[in-house]
């Protein structure tokens, strides 16, 4: 029963990891940009839910209805201006720019909202859970986040494989110059991909705030987890991201069961094992690594 609980709790956390990592995976897969500000943007979404949504007389639980579209818009604009400019200069510039962005965001948040921990207030829902067996408690919030992750990944998968715009995104991800020759304005497509990535990171940031406390500096450690998820699952595979997230969650719960201080260590060990045994990730294509 203990082991079953570890797997269940790990899978629940893993849902959040997958939701959080899919934007990172998309940015890297399509734009070839490693967004070092990814974690901080999630934190910004959390603050937006806590401080801005109440001004719109919106319960914090439903704040994502406003924050997610706004983030999508911001994503498009940031891509077409700041990130595109740095892509045009040279790929390494994007690393510097997103790192700079990360530092700026963190310090602005510290300046404005202080280092105090915040949570997205969802009322009594936070304490409720489903209790199927003696020691197993399934938190409704975590279950909701896992469901959201599966839905988002399913929607993304369908969008990319079936829709015309999704097909364009895949074409641009494969070869942007050839896509241009086929008449595609790749900058616009990049903008749309970034908008989707920003939207998912906003959702993840708000989900994080519902599950636990966050502070301006929470972005960094979560970014590390997101990288691990993408590598474990395999770059460019959305289902890989889900499985990677769940695998990382279970590994962490397993480590925590042995000794609470082993939680992050166990995740890192899984990450290193995958890198050593299957560097393309569980669902990755072999040539994606080269």
């Amino acid at each position: 029963m203990i082991w079953l609980n570890i797997v269940i709790q790990g899978a629940l956390v893993g849902g959040f990891y997958a939701l959080f990592a899919c934007g990172l995976s998309l940015m890297f897969g399509v734009l070839k940009v490693i967004n070092l500000a990814h974690g901080d943007m999630a934190v910004v979404a959390g603050y937006a839910a806590v401080f801005l949504a109440p001004r719109l007389h919106l319960p914090e639980l439903w704040s994502f209805l406003v924050v997610v579209p706004v983030f999508a818009l911001v994503g498009y604009v940031v891509q077409r201006t700041l990130i595109q400019k740095s892509i045009d200069r040279d790929p390494f510039t994007t690393l510097l720019v997103t790192f700079g962005l990360s530092v700026v965001i963190e310090n602005l948040l510290l300046e404005v909202y202080s280092a105090n921990g915040q949570t997205v207030n969802i009322g009594s829902l936070i304490g409720r859970s489903w209790h199927p067996a003696s020691i197993i408690y399934v938190s409704y919030v975590s279950l909701g986040v896992l469901a959201a992750a599966v839905l988002v990944l399913l929607a993304l998968q369908l969008f990319l494989s079936k829709s015309g715009l999704g097909r364009m995104i895949r074409a641009v991800a494969d070869d942007q110059e050839a896509a241009q020759l086929s008449g595609a304005n790749y900058r616009h497509i990049f903008g749309i991909a970034a908008a989707i990535a920003f939207a998912t990171v906003a959702l993840a940031g708000i989900a994080y705030g519902m599950m636990t406390q966050f502070a301006p500096t929470s972005g960094g450690v979560n970014l590390l987890f997101a990288f691990e998820v993408v590598v474990i699952g395999g770059i460019g595979s959305l289902w890989g991201t889900l499985v990677g997230g769940i695998a990382l969650g279970i590994a962490q719960q397993f480590g925590a069961h042995i000794n609470l201080s082993y939680q992050i260590l166990a995740g890192n060990i899984l990450f290193l094992l995958v890198l050593a045994v299957r560097p393309q990730g569980l669902f990755g294509r072999k040539n994606a690594v080269s």
């Binding site: 097909r167 020759l181 086929s182």
Partner: protein
Amino acid sequence: MSLLQLEGVSKKFGQVVVGEAITFQLMQGDAVGIVGPNGAGKTSLFGMISGDISPDSGVISFEGENVARLSPAKRARAGIGRTYQVPRPFEHMTVFENALVAAQQGARARGHKSYDIAFGALERTGLGPLANRPAGSLTLLHRKRLELARALSTSPRVLLLDEIAGGLTDLEVNELTTIIRSLRADGIAVLWIEHVVRALLSTVDRLICLASGVVVADGEPKEVLASDAVRFVYLGGKRIDEDAS
């Protein structure tokens, strides 16, 4: 009115001249071959026409409009189709999706019409039976055909073919030239860089010879090949050595 017209198009990469006052024009339905030694600036010329490379100076007009400052995507939509020397399919998509992207973006077609255009281009290039194969699994001949099919799906008025016969067997070259001749019969102008001169001669009725970015001959294929300037470029002395280095 000419379909495509270049006037004094020049480009330098540092000290390397890839285009020096290139001037020529192409009428609707023309088929023109481009020959010249390696490094003569042939592919760069295509880059300047399709928009990958922006020329330092000169005018490139397509259907009477100067397109020299337009993005590659806009030029593709306007009707300039191009194939790459080394095929660059979208490897993780099917053959059909490759053509469909071009039909929807390049030809601005929607729904069923885009499917018709894409499938028509695949049929035309003999890729119909392979439509659902992943493009990354294709052989060289099929990749070259896919390059052609993708360019065709943008509904071009002029096709820029970059060594599409290179690396193929005689039989395969014959199949490709048959396709290209049929496209020309439909009124698509063809500008074709090729080292396989026999393939060129079977299809084009005009030849341009480039050397070090300069048009050294332009005219009847047989006359161009026999001209002193071209013989000098290919056979004679110093100039070739400079290009090779």
